[in-house]
Symmetry: D2
Subunit: 304 residues, 4 copies
């Protein structure tokens, strides 16, 4: 059996020297301040062991990765009724593309494109008494870590420049697929995306998806059946128009964010998180994608 | 542990009584002659055991399922060079849709939409001395069954009415992504799709994808790495615009054909094949989709 | 020579009896209160004569017809520089479709689709000191009629439900093609669309487009060359995805609005306005389209 | 009144010196042999006078210009029934784009995109006893010139490389919108496009569209009403995705071909033809477009 610690160290030291580290996201001004040389890897095994290297304990903006956590909470509230308001098909398009939304009468292709994630946010705003506080508590509980917080500067920065998200929310509203006030939903959504977590916290937060719905504290938050389905959605829709490529090269369900984070998991085995702020042209962390590809190649771990 | 034989029998007798059995494909005239009440299920475990019920031993036209077998042979010839000529992303569109092909400068979205499968056929025509004979031999070898054959009436029927495939081939040619003569490539392609196999033969043919590239005779035909990638493509692209739904509901890599067949597999575990000619509106076997959904739900087997 | 008064009377009395009078627009709640039996026709000849029948003197909401008046003012300010921010090509799509806007990097197809008209509104907000007052004055001056006004209830109604326009404005902003504050631009735009005019006032307002840029008071507001170009844009883009049909059946430059108004003109000859609130499935006045088709057929008047 | 001869001479000598003369079409190999310095202008007034300069008497391949002549013959056979098989709306897309065809269930957007012109060719093949001979005779009769002929080398060249047209014809066939054999229809279509005419012959051939349907020999070939409609289609659809631009800059109904020819007309006034083989990026003759723009600006002639 291949040693996980040895493997991630080898990957870390090789990729650390890469000339091409991608481009740090600039469309959210606060994110552009990140250091391109940051790089961390963390593994949480479901047997409790952890493996880590580099900047695994530095908090970063998880951005779109938060969509999976929000989805798990929305499913806990509404079960399969949420699929009346969005589909589960890959979009075949970049993450901020509105056209498909419009062509399909206000039903977003899946919950991980922005339009779908805004519908999920709308569901949470409906069910949560204090949406921002309550959602933060949910994340702290499944991660077993009360130090997690929103970065309000990032949330404010995204609000000031989030015209495409306002466009998507207005379009959803025009089709009757947004029940709450646009400002309230987007305020929640911008905070949700502005969650700051370390690689280690991220691995713990996603523990439940590798463990049939039970979090790291052994509490069942969603059913085993819903867990499988969320994993399926991550695999087919988690990497924008690079989802097929990630399934093909890495072979694990996962989710990336423009803050440079990626989390992926092998059911009943482990969760792996990476962080490197430089992105490839498709908007996924360049070193993170490479690290995960090397990891699954070297360890032979894959759902396929 | 749940008993496979008992499970497929329960599913078989329940679905046999369904009022709605879908619509038999009519666009290939020969296929429209199929009996909607046909229904068979077959499982080939990688430990050698088999389980079966109903019309599991009746040959039917495997149609698009053949695309995966052709792909495995093309990869054996050209390795990852084949990805210069097609992509691995889900199409988000029905199986016979040409527009994306055109928008992306002649590069099909993946090898399982018709345009991509025609490029794969072109690769085989380039490499095989006697394409139709040699490909049939390959299928017979991996299945360990010399009785498998083309149905030449189905091939001729498809040739007479295959205008969309002629359109796709001409479009590929206009973009320089078809090296051989259109008539030769499509004659091969129509024969490939007109392969007739039973559920049992299908399970055996796909044995190698559940067994790290080694066929039922224990011969390595493609590498373990290529096997994983083909499984990933089946999962993300195997069911036209219902690929996300299949991953979500069933959670296994698989491929369907308009003849009513579906094959799916759990790596290192088993291959399952179903046949029921009635299709749902998306072009996948109605009873077959339901049978596989019930099977994975009841057995808890899934890659997720 | 055919008598204009006799012709419009014959058309009026024939169409008045139509069983099918279309559907009154309901997406702006205020407009849905209109009476489907209203019907008026008015002709303003450039020699000064007028011809009229029915409800030609009843004010109605001119809606998208206002886009042409706004365009003429924007061209007066910026000359051909406005074409850096929008194109002059037919959209081939319904009037509220955003996808093309996005595909072409924030440049609307033409100034008469909503996205283009919002860019025009942005230009006017930049140049006019008191946009709403100053634009109203411009319309009053070219029409020589100080009684023209905005219907503030209609403007407020559209503001409350104008989610698609908010989506378009946000998308334009995201592409850097909107210089002023979204709320300010849309407040102006909703007022502009909420102008109320009679058929008679509409004919007078469009007099300048039939008269080489000189209004009914003989003042030159735009050059003869710009007049021709605006007429060309009306012909190719004035009727959403029915523009080709209108050119084909009627053969005059014109513009329709969802309030049920249509105005069309033959350069150096006459302006004709119709009002009938019931719309056809493409969003153009049903009786108005028929009236204009009959009129040009009976009189033989057409630019072709 | 401005002198036509003087005007075209001034334009000719100015444009002759242009550094940028565009790019000669290469996708039909025979056409790539054309000399980029060729340039001719010819005007046929309906009062019988003619004006000409440069290479006005050199035959060239009229290509897509022939679609208008074919359309006039098809309308003569089938009247308005032809509109059951195609629409009259601008496509908003390049001339060889198939996607819209597919989205609209096999109904081409208009008769001047390739897919629509192939349907027109199908109609002529149905009605003409000897399609190629009979259509050639029609062109000779309306032009009053028996020397006009097909260039069979160009037709053969286009047949060898016309994969996009084969794709379009197969797609139409798959939708049931092509009644005759694909090879027969395309053989006719490639010949039709391979007609060779001089500027002078082209002006005479289009005389009937400026003269209410009566050709230069004063014979009525189509009704005045059909003439208007064909002019409307030329205006809205005659220049691919530059139709709006041409209407805007030139303001005359017209049609271009990739051989470098353009013909345009002012009803009841004149027909003007230009030929210059270098094309702009949209596929229309670069010098021809400029010449027509200068001509209508200098003479003030326009339908608007």
């Amino acid at each position: 059996m291949i040693d996980f610690q040895e493997t991630i160290e080898a990957i870390y030291y090789e990729l650390k020297q890469s000339q091409n580290k991608g481009v740090v996201a600039s469309y959210i001004p606060e994110l552009s301040k990140q250091n391109k040389n940051s790089f961390g890897i963390h593994i949480q095994h479901i047997d409790g062991r952890t493996f880590q290297i580099g900047d695994w304990n530095v908090p970063f903006s998880i951005q779109s990765i938060s969509k999976v956590l929000a989805l798990s909470k929305a499913i806990a509230f509404e079960d399969n009724r949420i699929w009346d308001r969005m589909d589960v098909e890959p979009s075949g398009n970049p993450f901020n593309h509105l056209s498909l939304l419009e062509l399909e009468a206000g039903i977003p292709r899946n919950p991980l494109i922005n339009a779908g994630a805004i519908v999920v946010a709308d569901i949470l705003v409906t069910h949560l008494k204090h949406p921002k506080t309550d959602f933060l508590n949910y994340v702290r509980i499944i991660t077993n870590d009360n130090s997690i917080n929103y970065n309000v500067d990032v949330a404010a920065s995204e609000k000031r420049t989030g015209f495409k998200n306002y466009a998507a929310a207005n379009l959803l509203k025009s089709f009757g697929n947004l029940n709450n006030d646009i400002e309230v939903v987007l305020d929640f959504y911008f905070h949700q995306c502005a969650l700051e977590m370390t690689c280690s916290q991220l691995s713990k937060a996603f523990f439940l998806f590798a463990n049939k719905g039970k979090c790291i504290n052994n509490v069942q938050h969603i059913s085993s059946s819903h867990t499988k389905r969320i994993n399926a959605i991550m695999l087919t829709c988690g990497f924008y128009d690079e989802a097929g490529e990630f399934a093909f090269e890495v072979g694990l369900p996962g989710k990336s964010g423009v803050g440079g984070g990626i989390v992926a998991l092998l059911p009943n085995d482990f969760v792996i998180s990476t962080w490197a702020p430089g992105l490839n042209p498709k908007g996924n962390s360049l070193l993170g994608m490479q690290a995960l590809e090397y990891f699954t190649t070297k360890t032979g771990r894959s759902i396929f």
